[in-house]
Amino acid sequence: MSEPVTKAKLATVWLDGCSGCHMSFLDMDERLLEVAARAELVYSPLVDRKDFPEIVDITLVEGAVSSEEDLRKIRHIREHTRVLVSLGDCAVAGNVPTMRNPFGVEPVLSRAYDENVTAPAPRPRGVIPVLLQAARPVHAVVPVDVYIPGCPPSAETIHYAVSELLAGRKPELRKLTRFGA
Protein backbone atom coordinates (compact mmCIF):
# COMPACT_ATOMS: atom_id res chain seq x y z
CA MET A 1 0.00 0.00 0.00
CA SER A 2 1.37 3.39 -0.91
CA GLU A 3 1.68 6.15 1.64
CA PRO A 4 -1.33 8.51 1.64
CA VAL A 5 -0.40 11.96 0.35
CA THR A 6 -1.58 13.75 3.45
CA LYS A 7 -1.86 11.95 6.76
CA ALA A 8 -4.85 12.53 9.02
CA LYS A 9 -4.16 14.73 12.01
CA LEU A 10 -4.74 12.86 15.28
CA ALA A 11 -4.72 14.32 18.79
CA THR A 12 -5.26 12.91 22.28
CA VAL A 13 -6.16 14.92 25.39
CA TRP A 14 -6.01 14.08 29.06
CA LEU A 15 -8.62 15.76 31.25
CA ASP A 16 -9.74 14.30 34.63
CA GLY A 17 -8.71 10.68 34.18
CA CYS A 18 -6.08 8.37 35.62
CA SER A 19 -4.12 8.13 32.31
CA GLY A 20 -5.25 4.50 32.03
CA CYS A 21 -6.86 5.22 28.67
CA HIS A 22 -3.58 6.64 27.37
CA MET A 23 -1.78 3.55 28.71
CA SER A 24 -4.25 1.40 26.82
CA PHE A 25 -3.62 3.50 23.71
CA LEU A 26 0.11 2.77 24.08
CA ASP A 27 -0.74 -0.91 24.58
CA MET A 28 -1.51 -1.03 20.85
CA ASP A 29 2.24 -1.78 20.69
CA GLU A 30 3.38 -2.55 17.14
CA ARG A 31 -0.03 -1.54 15.81
CA LEU A 32 0.98 2.02 16.71
CA LEU A 33 3.28 1.89 13.68
CA GLU A 34 0.33 1.03 11.49
CA VAL A 35 -1.62 3.97 12.95
CA ALA A 36 1.43 6.21 12.53
CA ALA A 37 1.57 5.31 8.85
CA ARG A 38 -1.90 6.74 8.38
CA ALA A 39 -2.05 9.53 10.92
CA GLU A 40 0.21 12.11 12.47
CA LEU A 41 -0.03 12.58 16.23
CA VAL A 42 -0.11 16.37 16.29
CA TYR A 43 -1.02 17.01 19.94
CA SER A 44 -0.98 14.69 22.96
CA PRO A 45 0.52 14.22 26.43
CA LEU A 46 2.78 11.82 24.50
CA VAL A 47 4.25 14.48 22.19
CA ASP A 48 5.94 17.76 22.91
CA ARG A 49 3.57 20.44 21.70
CA LYS A 50 1.93 22.99 23.98
CA ASP A 51 -0.75 24.62 21.80
CA PHE A 52 -3.65 22.80 20.17
CA PRO A 53 -3.36 22.97 16.34
CA GLU A 54 -5.71 25.03 14.18
CA ILE A 55 -7.55 21.98 12.88
CA VAL A 56 -7.35 18.34 13.93
CA ASP A 57 -9.21 15.50 12.18
CA ILE A 58 -9.71 13.18 15.15
CA THR A 59 -9.27 13.99 18.85
CA LEU A 60 -9.51 11.29 21.50
CA VAL A 61 -10.48 12.68 24.91
CA GLU A 62 -9.64 10.85 28.13
CA GLY A 63 -11.21 12.01 31.36
CA ALA A 64 -14.21 13.88 32.72
CA VAL A 65 -14.59 17.65 32.71
CA SER A 66 -13.87 18.51 36.35
CA SER A 67 -12.22 21.92 36.50
CA GLU A 68 -12.51 25.33 34.87
CA GLU A 69 -9.30 24.48 33.05
CA ASP A 70 -10.81 21.25 31.65
CA LEU A 71 -13.84 23.21 30.49
CA ARG A 72 -11.79 25.90 28.77
CA LYS A 73 -9.62 23.26 27.08
CA ILE A 74 -12.42 21.06 25.81
CA ARG A 75 -14.38 24.00 24.41
CA HIS A 76 -11.32 25.14 22.49
CA ILE A 77 -10.55 21.61 21.31
CA ARG A 78 -14.13 21.07 20.13
CA GLU A 79 -13.89 24.18 17.95
CA HIS A 80 -10.69 22.93 16.35
CA THR A 81 -11.61 19.25 15.91
CA ARG A 82 -13.56 17.52 13.14
CA VAL A 83 -14.38 14.26 14.97
CA LEU A 84 -14.38 14.42 18.76
CA VAL A 85 -14.17 11.04 20.48
CA SER A 86 -14.94 10.34 24.15
CA LEU A 87 -12.42 7.67 25.10
CA GLY A 88 -13.12 5.66 28.24
CA ASP A 89 -15.78 5.77 30.95
CA CYS A 90 -14.57 9.04 32.55
CA ALA A 91 -15.07 10.93 29.28
CA VAL A 92 -18.17 8.94 28.30
CA ALA A 93 -20.00 8.65 31.62
CA GLY A 94 -18.10 10.68 34.21
CA ASN A 95 -17.04 7.52 36.05
CA VAL A 96 -14.79 7.79 39.13
CA PRO A 97 -14.25 11.61 38.94
CA THR A 98 -18.03 12.10 39.38
CA MET A 99 -18.07 10.16 42.65
CA ARG A 100 -17.47 13.49 44.39
CA ASN A 101 -20.59 15.09 42.88
CA PRO A 102 -23.14 14.07 45.53
CA PHE A 103 -20.96 15.68 48.23
CA GLY A 104 -20.19 19.08 46.67
CA VAL A 105 -16.82 20.80 46.31
CA GLU A 106 -16.24 22.13 49.82
CA PRO A 107 -16.51 18.82 51.71
CA VAL A 108 -14.19 17.23 49.13
CA LEU A 109 -11.54 19.95 49.54
CA SER A 110 -11.92 19.81 53.28
CA ARG A 111 -11.29 16.08 53.22
CA ALA A 112 -8.04 16.62 51.34
CA TYR A 113 -6.77 19.82 52.97
CA ASP A 114 -8.09 19.61 56.55
CA GLU A 115 -9.15 16.11 57.58
CA ASN A 116 -6.49 13.91 55.99
CA VAL A 117 -3.42 15.99 56.81
CA THR A 118 -1.03 15.99 59.75
CA ALA A 119 -0.65 19.77 59.57
CA PRO A 120 -3.37 21.98 58.11
CA ALA A 121 -2.46 22.99 54.55
CA PRO A 122 -3.53 26.26 52.93
CA ARG A 123 -6.04 25.94 50.11
CA PRO A 124 -4.47 26.42 46.67
CA ARG A 125 -5.16 29.77 45.04
CA GLY A 126 -4.59 30.50 41.37
CA VAL A 127 -2.04 27.82 40.50
CA ILE A 128 -4.22 24.71 40.63
CA PRO A 129 -7.33 24.79 38.41
CA VAL A 130 -10.56 25.56 40.27
CA LEU A 131 -12.92 22.60 40.57
CA LEU A 132 -16.33 22.85 38.93
CA GLN A 133 -19.35 22.27 41.15
CA ALA A 134 -19.71 18.85 39.52
CA ALA A 135 -17.50 16.71 37.28
CA ARG A 136 -19.30 15.88 34.02
CA PRO A 137 -18.96 13.63 31.02
CA VAL A 138 -17.59 15.42 27.95
CA HIS A 139 -20.89 15.39 26.01
CA ALA A 140 -22.55 17.30 28.86
CA VAL A 141 -20.51 20.37 27.90
CA VAL A 142 -19.67 20.03 24.16
CA PRO A 143 -21.09 17.86 21.33
CA VAL A 144 -19.31 14.50 20.99
CA ASP A 145 -19.28 12.42 17.79
CA VAL A 146 -18.13 8.96 18.92
CA TYR A 147 -18.25 7.17 22.31
CA ILE A 148 -15.83 4.43 23.37
CA PRO A 149 -16.91 3.12 26.80
CA GLY A 150 -14.60 1.01 28.95
CA CYS A 151 -12.30 1.55 31.92
CA PRO A 152 -10.04 1.55 30.11
CA PRO A 153 -11.17 0.42 26.65
CA SER A 154 -8.83 -2.38 25.55
CA ALA A 155 -6.02 -1.74 23.09
CA GLU A 156 -7.96 -3.90 20.59
CA THR A 157 -11.03 -1.69 20.97
CA ILE A 158 -9.00 1.50 20.55
CA HIS A 159 -7.16 0.10 17.56
CA TYR A 160 -10.37 -0.94 15.86
CA ALA A 161 -12.08 2.40 16.60
CA VAL A 162 -9.13 4.51 15.41
CA SER A 163 -8.71 2.39 12.26
CA GLU A 164 -12.39 2.76 11.39
CA LEU A 165 -12.31 6.50 12.02
CA LEU A 166 -9.20 6.87 9.86
CA ALA A 167 -11.04 4.99 7.11
CA GLY A 168 -13.86 7.53 7.44
CA ARG A 169 -16.31 5.10 9.05
CA LYS A 170 -18.15 5.23 12.36
CA PRO A 171 -16.96 2.29 14.51
CA GLU A 172 -19.60 -0.22 15.66
CA LEU A 173 -18.38 -0.90 19.19
CA ARG A 174 -21.30 -2.65 20.85
CA LYS A 175 -19.76 -6.12 20.75
CA LEU A 176 -16.30 -4.95 21.80
CA THR A 177 -16.83 -2.84 24.88
CA ARG A 178 -19.29 -1.54 27.50
CA PHE A 179 -19.40 0.64 30.61
CA GLY A 180 -16.88 -0.76 33.08
CA ALA A 181 -15.24 -3.09 30.52
Partner: protein, 238 residues
Protein backbone atom coordinates in the same frame (compact mmCIF):
# COMPACT_ATOMS: atom_id res chain seq x y z
CA UNK B 1 -54.44 -24.99 35.86
CA UNK B 2 -56.72 -25.79 32.94
CA UNK B 3 -57.71 -22.84 30.79
CA UNK B 4 -58.75 -21.93 27.31
CA UNK B 5 -56.06 -21.86 24.68
CA UNK B 6 -55.88 -18.56 22.81
CA UNK B 7 -54.14 -17.90 19.53
CA UNK B 8 -52.43 -14.68 18.66
CA UNK B 9 -49.55 -13.33 16.59
CA UNK B 10 -46.15 -12.20 17.83
CA UNK B 11 -43.89 -10.63 15.23
CA UNK B 12 -45.98 -12.17 12.47
CA UNK B 13 -45.64 -15.66 13.94
CA UNK B 14 -48.81 -17.56 14.94
CA UNK B 15 -48.55 -18.58 18.60
CA UNK B 16 -50.86 -19.94 21.25
CA UNK B 17 -50.99 -19.89 25.02
CA UNK B 18 -53.31 -20.40 27.97
CA UNK B 19 -55.70 -17.52 28.44
CA UNK B 20 -54.16 -16.26 31.65
CA UNK B 21 -50.66 -16.14 30.13
CA UNK B 22 -48.82 -12.88 29.65
CA UNK B 23 -47.36 -11.77 26.33
CA UNK B 24 -43.90 -12.30 27.81
CA UNK B 25 -44.62 -15.90 28.84
CA UNK B 26 -46.01 -16.81 25.42
CA UNK B 27 -43.13 -15.06 23.65
CA UNK B 28 -40.52 -16.90 25.74
CA UNK B 29 -42.27 -20.25 25.18
CA UNK B 30 -41.82 -19.58 21.47
CA UNK B 31 -38.21 -18.38 21.83
CA UNK B 32 -39.05 -14.79 20.96
CA UNK B 33 -36.80 -12.48 22.97
CA UNK B 34 -38.18 -9.46 24.75
CA UNK B 35 -35.72 -7.58 26.98
CA UNK B 36 -36.72 -7.35 30.66
CA UNK B 37 -35.28 -6.02 33.89
CA UNK B 38 -37.72 -6.31 36.77
CA UNK B 39 -39.07 -9.66 35.57
CA UNK B 40 -37.42 -12.66 37.12
CA UNK B 41 -38.58 -16.23 36.47
CA UNK B 42 -40.35 -17.58 39.52
CA UNK B 43 -41.50 -14.29 41.04
CA UNK B 44 -44.83 -12.49 40.70
CA UNK B 45 -44.57 -9.61 38.22
CA UNK B 46 -44.17 -6.00 39.31
CA UNK B 47 -44.35 -4.18 35.96
CA UNK B 48 -41.87 -1.77 37.46
CA UNK B 49 -39.20 -1.17 34.82
CA UNK B 50 -40.98 -0.74 31.46
CA UNK B 51 -38.07 -2.30 29.57
CA UNK B 52 -40.38 -5.04 28.17
CA UNK B 53 -42.70 -2.64 26.32
CA UNK B 54 -44.27 -4.04 23.14
CA UNK B 55 -46.64 -2.71 20.46
CA UNK B 56 -50.11 -4.22 20.45
CA UNK B 57 -52.22 -3.55 17.37
CA UNK B 58 -55.15 -1.30 18.24
CA UNK B 59 -53.69 -0.15 21.56
CA UNK B 60 -52.84 3.54 21.72
CA UNK B 61 -50.03 3.05 24.24
CA UNK B 62 -47.09 0.70 24.39
CA UNK B 63 -47.80 -2.13 26.83
CA UNK B 64 -45.47 -3.97 29.24
CA UNK B 65 -45.28 -7.57 28.02
CA UNK B 66 -44.71 -9.01 31.50
CA UNK B 67 -48.08 -7.85 32.90
CA UNK B 68 -50.26 -7.78 29.77
CA UNK B 69 -52.32 -10.92 29.20
CA UNK B 70 -52.78 -12.33 25.73
CA UNK B 71 -56.16 -12.09 24.00
CA UNK B 72 -57.65 -14.01 21.10
CA UNK B 73 -56.44 -12.58 17.78
CA UNK B 74 -54.03 -10.14 19.46
CA UNK B 75 -51.22 -8.89 17.22
CA UNK B 76 -47.98 -8.04 19.03
CA UNK B 77 -44.76 -6.49 17.77
CA UNK B 78 -41.69 -6.93 19.99
CA UNK B 79 -39.18 -5.11 17.81
CA UNK B 80 -39.35 -1.73 16.08
CA UNK B 81 -37.47 1.54 15.91
CA UNK B 82 -40.06 3.04 18.25
CA UNK B 83 -39.64 0.27 20.84
CA UNK B 84 -35.86 0.46 20.66
CA UNK B 85 -36.07 4.21 21.23
CA UNK B 86 -38.20 3.81 24.35
CA UNK B 87 -36.19 0.90 25.75
CA UNK B 88 -32.98 2.88 25.34
CA UNK B 89 -34.53 5.92 27.00
CA UNK B 90 -35.69 3.81 29.93
CA UNK B 91 -32.23 2.36 30.46
CA UNK B 92 -30.57 5.77 30.10
CA UNK B 93 -32.92 7.23 32.71
CA UNK B 94 -32.01 4.43 35.12
CA UNK B 95 -28.34 5.35 34.75
CA UNK B 96 -29.00 9.09 35.10
CA UNK B 97 -31.22 8.65 38.15
CA UNK B 98 -28.60 7.24 40.56
CA UNK B 99 -24.83 6.84 40.77
CA UNK B 100 -23.65 3.96 38.61
CA UNK B 101 -19.87 3.74 38.49
CA UNK B 102 -19.45 0.39 36.74
CA UNK B 103 -15.65 0.33 36.87
CA UNK B 104 -15.61 0.13 40.68
CA UNK B 105 -18.93 -1.67 41.23
CA UNK B 106 -19.13 -5.10 42.87
CA UNK B 107 -21.38 -6.25 40.03
CA UNK B 108 -19.22 -5.04 37.15
CA UNK B 109 -19.47 -7.69 34.45
CA UNK B 110 -22.40 -9.49 36.12
CA UNK B 111 -25.04 -6.78 36.02
CA UNK B 112 -28.38 -6.91 34.20
CA UNK B 113 -28.51 -3.13 33.75
CA UNK B 114 -25.04 -3.01 32.28
CA UNK B 115 -25.88 -5.90 29.99
CA UNK B 116 -29.11 -4.21 28.86
CA UNK B 117 -27.20 -1.03 28.02
CA UNK B 118 -24.72 -2.99 25.95
CA UNK B 119 -27.29 -5.05 24.03
CA UNK B 120 -29.50 -2.02 23.36
CA UNK B 121 -26.50 -0.05 22.10
CA UNK B 122 -26.57 2.55 24.90
CA UNK B 123 -23.01 3.91 24.75
CA UNK B 124 -23.66 7.18 26.55
CA UNK B 125 -26.44 8.78 28.61
CA UNK B 126 -28.17 11.70 26.93
CA UNK B 127 -30.04 12.85 30.05
CA UNK B 128 -28.33 14.94 32.72
CA UNK B 129 -27.13 12.80 35.62
CA UNK B 130 -28.79 13.65 38.93
CA UNK B 131 -25.94 12.64 41.29
CA UNK B 132 -28.22 12.15 44.33
CA UNK B 133 -26.66 11.67 47.77
CA UNK B 134 -27.80 8.16 48.71
CA UNK B 135 -27.08 5.91 51.68
CA UNK B 136 -25.07 2.71 51.77
CA UNK B 137 -26.29 0.39 54.52
CA UNK B 138 -23.59 -2.02 55.65
CA UNK B 139 -25.07 -2.71 59.06
CA UNK B 140 -25.98 -6.32 58.20
CA UNK B 141 -23.39 -8.92 59.21
CA UNK B 142 -23.26 -10.53 55.75
CA UNK B 143 -24.81 -8.17 53.20
CA UNK B 144 -24.60 -4.59 51.93
CA UNK B 145 -27.35 -2.41 50.42
CA UNK B 146 -26.01 0.34 48.18
CA UNK B 147 -28.87 2.57 47.06
CA UNK B 148 -26.62 4.26 44.51
CA UNK B 149 -27.02 1.16 42.33
CA UNK B 150 -30.70 0.38 42.95
CA UNK B 151 -33.08 0.44 39.96
CA UNK B 152 -36.23 -0.06 42.06
CA UNK B 153 -37.13 -3.28 40.27
CA UNK B 154 -38.62 -4.61 43.53
CA UNK B 155 -37.16 -8.07 43.03
CA UNK B 156 -35.90 -7.97 46.63
CA UNK B 157 -39.33 -7.00 47.96
CA UNK B 158 -41.00 -9.80 46.02
CA UNK B 159 -38.56 -12.59 46.79
CA UNK B 160 -38.45 -11.74 50.48
CA UNK B 161 -42.23 -11.45 50.78
CA UNK B 162 -43.36 -14.23 48.44
CA UNK B 163 -40.64 -16.87 48.63
CA UNK B 164 -38.85 -16.42 51.94
CA UNK B 165 -42.02 -15.14 53.63
CA UNK B 166 -40.11 -12.66 55.79
CA UNK B 167 -41.26 -9.42 54.11
CA UNK B 168 -38.25 -7.53 55.36
CA UNK B 169 -38.07 -5.34 52.23
CA UNK B 170 -40.61 -2.71 51.34
CA UNK B 171 -40.81 0.60 49.51
CA UNK B 172 -40.83 4.10 50.94
CA UNK B 173 -41.29 7.53 49.32
CA UNK B 174 -42.43 8.56 45.87
CA UNK B 175 -40.77 9.59 42.64
CA UNK B 176 -37.14 10.63 43.06
CA UNK B 177 -37.37 9.98 46.83
CA UNK B 178 -38.40 6.36 46.42
CA UNK B 179 -36.18 3.89 48.29
CA UNK B 180 -36.39 0.23 49.19
CA UNK B 181 -36.28 -0.14 52.97
CA UNK B 182 -35.78 -2.92 55.52
CA UNK B 183 -38.45 -3.26 58.21
CA UNK B 184 -39.66 0.24 59.15
CA UNK B 185 -36.73 1.99 57.44
CA UNK B 186 -34.41 0.64 60.11
CA UNK B 187 -30.82 -0.45 59.49
CA UNK B 188 -30.80 -3.87 57.82
CA UNK B 189 -28.53 -5.21 60.55
CA UNK B 190 -31.15 -4.42 63.18
CA UNK B 191 -34.01 -5.99 61.27
CA UNK B 192 -36.05 -8.40 63.39
CA UNK B 193 -37.66 -10.03 60.34
CA UNK B 194 -34.60 -10.72 58.15
CA UNK B 195 -33.56 -14.38 58.25
CA UNK B 196 -30.25 -13.68 56.45
CA UNK B 197 -31.27 -16.17 53.73
CA UNK B 198 -29.59 -14.02 51.04
CA UNK B 199 -32.32 -14.50 48.43
CA UNK B 200 -32.72 -10.74 47.87
CA UNK B 201 -29.00 -10.41 47.26
CA UNK B 202 -29.02 -13.19 44.67
CA UNK B 203 -32.04 -11.90 42.70
CA UNK B 204 -31.01 -8.23 42.75
CA UNK B 205 -30.12 -7.45 39.11
CA UNK B 206 -27.44 -4.88 39.97
CA UNK B 207 -24.76 -4.14 42.52
CA UNK B 208 -27.35 -2.66 44.91
CA UNK B 209 -27.41 -5.77 47.09
CA UNK B 210 -24.18 -7.69 47.54
CA UNK B 211 -22.36 -10.01 49.87
CA UNK B 212 -19.90 -8.36 52.22
CA UNK B 213 -16.25 -8.60 51.33
CA UNK B 214 -16.76 -8.67 47.56
CA UNK B 215 -14.54 -6.32 45.65
CA UNK B 216 -15.14 -4.71 42.22
CA UNK B 217 -16.53 -7.21 39.73
CA UNK B 218 -16.66 -10.10 42.21
CA UNK B 219 -20.38 -10.21 42.92
CA UNK B 220 -21.79 -12.81 40.51
CA UNK B 221 -25.32 -13.79 41.52
CA UNK B 222 -26.76 -17.29 41.88
CA UNK B 223 -30.35 -17.43 40.69
CA UNK B 224 -31.00 -21.05 39.79
CA UNK B 225 -32.68 -21.80 43.11
CA UNK B 226 -35.65 -19.63 42.30
CA UNK B 227 -37.62 -21.58 39.66
CA UNK B 228 -37.13 -24.69 41.80
CA UNK B 229 -38.47 -23.07 44.97
CA UNK B 230 -41.39 -21.59 43.04
CA UNK B 231 -42.24 -24.92 41.44
CA UNK B 232 -42.24 -26.56 44.86
CA UNK B 233 -44.83 -24.00 45.90
CA UNK B 234 -46.94 -24.76 42.81
CA UNK B 235 -46.25 -21.47 41.04
CA UNK B 236 -45.37 -20.52 37.51
CA UNK B 237 -41.67 -20.63 36.69
CA UNK B 238 -41.21 -19.28 33.15
Amino acid sequence: MAGRVLTCQIDGQDVSGLEESTILEVAREHHIRIPTLCHVPGLPEAGACRVCLVEVEGAARLLPACVTRIAEGMKVKTESERLLKYRRMTVEMLFAERNHICSVCVSNGHCDLQWLAQTLGVDHIRFPYRYPALPVDSSHARFVADHNRCVLCLRCVRVCGEIEGAHTWDVMGRGADCLVITDLAQPWGESASCTSCGKCVQVCPTGALSEKGKSAGEMAKQRRFLPYLTLMRGGNHV
